[in-house]
Symmetry: C2
């Protein structure tokens, strides 16, 4: 039985969306057990699942505008902190939250803890490509500064995930850089390029540019947290604005445009599906001793369901324990 | 009379698109004179303008895959290099090219030369916002590494451009960072934030995120060249892929979708117009002794025309000489 600790109080639509996602997951997956952390009365309002679910009541929760490190230290009984502690104490195998990202990073690092040998866990998401396959990118902003050695570790972490969780036999790893030539980039990216070239356990395909990410230029894209965060937000902002502009253009186009949109409805839904990657799950804080996964703040029932499904696959494929072995071996070699 | 040197041989559709853009500009603006550098016979095939245009013939040109610095050194008679030399020698007041970006950066720096006091000229473009106003962002990749002092200079340069060329009385300047709080970012961005806060000549509005750029969160967005390049390419890649996906969705949607697209045609064109910012001109290598402007490699006649129009405005408002004065004053204060 896979035991997953769920912060029921984090996210814009908590606890409703969280609990509804849990209901569906319990129904679909008979090998999981969910521990819900949060306000018991409010959780019960939405809970329909009756087996393999327990509620651990607490009144405290971390808000989206709380200062992360401080919140983790002071709100010791917050739903997110209790869920993290359950993982640390072995009562749960993994945890998820749709709440304050910074606080979850802090809880992951300080409560759950790093894998020995992984210097700086990175935030990783599966992002959409036009062919529907998607790619994994990390670090998306767990760190504001990274070294070349961190980027090498991200390549190893990302390859493991792509292989085990996404079933890609030989994941192509690209380094996000400001040009495709080997000599491109600042000193951080030049040194990372050299390290990646020398690493035998990954399949490094060289530098990739942000322009080509959605074309599926690599299965795993490695970047420092500052650039990764900016690129992720640029992709999100552009997609949201373009879809919004399309809507406005249809609205202001009068009757003719509305007729057109009606005829185009199926095609527009198909486009929305291509861009919607919530079925790939949430963002993994990767490099910790257990899966700690952040579901988007605006997660609905569907997104929560897919995040639980993703955690289940991570537990089933035992990806974290394999990482522990790999990095322990490397440590011993040093 | 404003004299503009134009590299007729750079870009995917050269010399045709370049010469056609020149034809239209000569017709519309009676106060400009164009010097076309390149293959005279090929230029004449497309040239209809008969006044205020001269051709300086050369057989040599820089290719898009030439190594920039080497090409500038070795191909001394290349159309791009001759155009840059004309600016240096005072025969032209400004130059444009749609050719090899790296080579144009090198020609700008080594032939035209920096304004005294500007440490690292930055590449700046006007990018689209949903309200149609647009924003200027720099550095978009002239430099792979920047210091906090460079970022402060970009804020001053960008503000000058927004005021003089775009007519914004009090341009809001934002620092691209991985969060809006004052304490966000790596050491480069934290230090830049402090410098920007202290600078009295600009209107600094704090940190901005890549997600909000298209919402018009600032008129001038300052960033290091590595991040700026990645964000620009992420925006481009997402827009191109989304528009492509929309097309595919319509195509594969059969008869019904095609009817819908027909009715929606005007609205879709409106969307395309919102995203198309070529009417704002090309990318300025800003901080040089004269306007050096890069038109997109895929520039058509329209984009070339608007780049010439942009250069004309830069000359008319005398923005570069004002910069020279400002930075000379600052140098003397030091």
């Amino acid at each position: 039985m896979k035991r997953i600790a769920v912060d029921a109080m984090g996210g814009d639509y908590a606890p409703k969306a969280i609990v509804e996602g849990v209901n569906r997951a319990i129904q679909d997956f008979s090998d999981i057990e969910i521990q819900l952390y949060g306000d018991e009365a409010k959780i019960r309002e939405h809970l329909t699942a009756s087996e393999r679910v327990t509620i651990v009541h607490t009144n405290e929760k971390i808000n989206s505008d709380d200062e992360p490190a401080k919140a983790i230290r002071r709100k010791k009984d917050a739903s997110m902190v209790l869920a993290a502690r359950a993982v640390k104490d072995g009562e749960a195998h993994a945890m998820m939250s749709a709440g304050n990202t910074g606080a979850l990073l802090a809880a992951g690092l300080f409560v759950v803890g790093r894998i020995k040998g992984v210097d700086r866990p990175g935030l990783m998401s599966t992002l959409p490509t036009r062919d529907g396959k998607g790619f994994d990118m990390l670090d998306l902003g767990a760190n504001a500064e990274n070294t070349p050695a961190h980027l090498l570790q991200y390549a190893i972490l990302g390859s493991f995930y792509a292989k085990n969780v996404r079933g890609i036999a030989k994941p192509h790893v690209g380094l996000l850089n400001n040009g495709t030539e080997a000599t491109k980039g600042d000193s951080l990216h030049k040194e990372a390029y050299d390290l990646l070239t020398q690493e035998a356990s990954i399949h490094f395909v060289g530098n990739v540019e942000a322009r080509d990410l959605m074309n599926g230029v690599a299965d795993v894209v490695v970047t420092d947290g500052f650039t990764g965060n900016a690129v992720l937000k640029a992709i999100e902002g552009t997609a949201i604005n373009l879809m919004g502009s399309l809507k406005s253009a249809i609205k202001s186009g009068g009757f003719k445009a509305k007729i057109g949109a009606l005829f185009l409805k199926d095609s527009l839904y198909q486009l929305k599906d291509t861009m919607d990657y919530s079925s790939a799950g949430g963002a993994v804080l990767f490099g910790l001793k257990a899966p700690v996964v952040k579901s988007h703040g605006s997660s609905d029932e569907r997104a929560v369901y897919y995040t639980i499904k993703q955690i289940r696959t991570m537990l089933e494929t035992d990806v974290v324990n394999q990482l522990v072995e790999t990095f322990t071996k490397e440590e011993n070699h040093d």
